[in-house]
């Protein structure tokens, strides 16, 4: 099944040598969506986020000269948009807490919802709560290594960091993650 209808109007004209938006979208959207889901966490609307990312891609495509790998360029945009989305989401959650009551989340654990699904969702929220307390550079490297299962070299290519820097960030991210995990579990007991 084609991802985008072949007769669909291209989003923009393709400048010579640089991929046009439609090709980029068709080739990379699923990967970008996965990065975005991992970086932004479980509470975002992934369609909205991918839409935002490709709006930025469309805006900045004329500046792309092919000096960096397309995936690296797309990853950097994804990282920035996901970061912005997390900021907005934090604000939105704070605002909605003041506005209405969250019965829905509370009552989810009834017999109508499978317990394991609820536990999975709660654990996932815990992971992102802990990750959110890490500096972005450590957080993102840890996500790419542990969740996206990329190698150090792949992370280096994607982020534009030196491989040695990736390992340093990863070691420090792990130390902080464990510390925050302990703090989180103490806070909850």
């Amino acid at each position: 099944m084609p991802l985008v209808r072949p007769d669909a109007t291209p989003f923009i004209e393709s400048p010579s040598g640089v991929p046009d938006l439609e090709t980029l979208y068709r080739t990379h959207a699923p990967t970008v969506a996965r990065w975005a889901a991992r970086l932004a966490g479980p509470l975002v609307d992934i369609d909205d986020l991918v839409h935002e990312i490709f709006l930025v891609v469309r805006r900045r495509l004329p500046e792309f000269r092919g000096e960096a790998k397309v995936t690296t360029w797309l990853y950097r945009i994804t990282e920035r948009v996901a970061l912005e989305s997390r900021r907005k989401d934090r604000f939105r959650r704070w605002f909605s807490r003041a506005r209405h009551f969250e019965i829905e989340r509370t009552i989810a654990p009834t017999h109508l919802t499978p317990v394991d699904e609820v536990e999975r969702r709660q654990s996932s929220e815990t992971v992102y709560r802990i990750l959110d307390r890490l500096p972005a550079k450590y957080r993102n490297v840890l996500i790419l290594f542990e969740l996206e299962e990329l190698s150090g070299e792949q992370i280096a290519t994607l982020t534009g960091l030196k491989p040695a820097t990736v390992w340093v960030h990863l070691h420090r991210a792990r130390v902080r993650f464990v510390a925050e995990m302990k703090r989180d579990s103490e806070r909850r007991t």
Partner: protein
């Protein structure tokens, strides 16, 4: 000589990591616990052909998106202007009150010092603390606070409007107590302590507190988090609920709890009430549709249950209960 950083030296930090935490078998070590947690967060919903087509369509209608963005920006600008105007008006009001001075017949007239001006600002500003804002003249109501009645006895008696319906300071206290309970419940995830604060609220303000409805919803939420479903259901059973606003969430909660207790007849009433009202495509509607199917199935109404599940899948093909619905229908 490289300087150690915590437990690891810089040289150690540059060493590649060979094993992922996620690959660790479950255990009590920090790494194993982290691995268990990370495994739970590893799954992401696939971005399928449907999502691709939807986002592609949105990208093509860029103009609509931009016009929405402009509308937001204009709304924010107007909001800021209004807020700025309100702040300026409030400042002007305070300055006017300060410049008029006490003007009490039985007190000597004196120029207000900066200290007295500040004091008066505090007196005027205090009643604006509660969530329900009193009218600007409210601070002059006798008995609204003890301080005010001592400071401005004559002025208060001359200018006092009819007695307000609620004592602002009592309302502020009630609001603070309830906000504390909500904080314990949501931020600190301590439903036990939240419940204790809600008991304090009840002891102090009784069933006639101005914020009693909010306190009741918070109590129900705390009881649910504590797993005390019977007590939560007892409270919900006593409510007259409508399928609007927060009532929808309460209604679906009550229906699910009733179903859980095997009271499917009563649960069906609630589910029907929810689904008869205009049902937006949100999770409450999903829960109501799926819940009604479950109840109907429990009562042996297979045709009704099947019809509900078919409607559910048609409306929410990727909904929270879509997999269970498909499994129930053998799809």
């Amino acid at each position: 000589m490289k300087k150690p950083r915590g437990r690891q030296t810089e040289a150690e930090e540059r060493m590649p990591i060979r094993h992922r935490w996620r690959a660790q078998p479950p255990g009590d070590s920090d790494e194993a616990r982290a691995g268990t947690l990370l495994r739970s967060a590893a799954a992401v919903q696939p971005f399928g052909a449907r999502n691709l087509a939807e986002v592609a369509a949105r990208l093509r209608s860029r103009e609509r998106h931009l016009s929405r963005k402009w509308a937001w920006q204009i709304a924010i600008a107007v909001g800021l202007l209004l807020f700025g105007g309100a702040v300026s008006a409030a400042v002007m009001h305070f300055l006017r009150v300060a410049s008029v001075g006490p003007a009490l017949p039985d007190t000597p007239v004196s120029m207000p010092t900066s200290k007295t001006v500040r004091r008066r600002h505090m007196l005027v500003a205090q009643p604006f603390v509660p969530a329900v804002s009193p009218a600007p003249e409210a601070p002059l109501v006798p008995g609204s606070t003890e301080e005010k009645s001592e400071s401005l006895p004559v002025k208060a008696s001359i200018e006092s409007p009819p007695a307000p319906l609620a004592n602002p300071s009592a309302l502020a206290q009630e609001s603070r107590l309830l906000a504390g309970a909500i904080h314990k419940l949501r931020q600190e995830r301590n439903p036990g302590r939240a419940l204790a604060m809600l008991d304090q609220h009840r002891a102090r303000f009784g069933a006639n507190g101005a914020l009693e409805p909010e306190a009741k919803v918070t109590r129900i939420e705390a009881l649910l988090r504590l797993g005390r479903h019977d007590q939560a259901l007892g409270l919900l059973d006593a409510q007259t609920l409508t399928a609007a606003g927060v009532g929808r969430e309460m209604l679906v909660a009550r229906a699910e709890l009733r179903a859980e207790k095997g009271r499917c007849g009563a649960a069906l009433n609630d589910f029907n009430l929810l689904l008869a009202a205009e049902a937006p495509p949100d999770l409450v509607t999903q829960r109501a549709m799926y819940g009604r199917a479950t109840c109907r199935a429990q009562q042996g109404d297979w045709a009704g249950a099947r019809s509900d599940l078919e409607h559910y899948l048609a409306r929410f093909p990727k909904g929270r209960f879509a997999d269970q619905a498909r499994a129930a229908m053998g799809k």
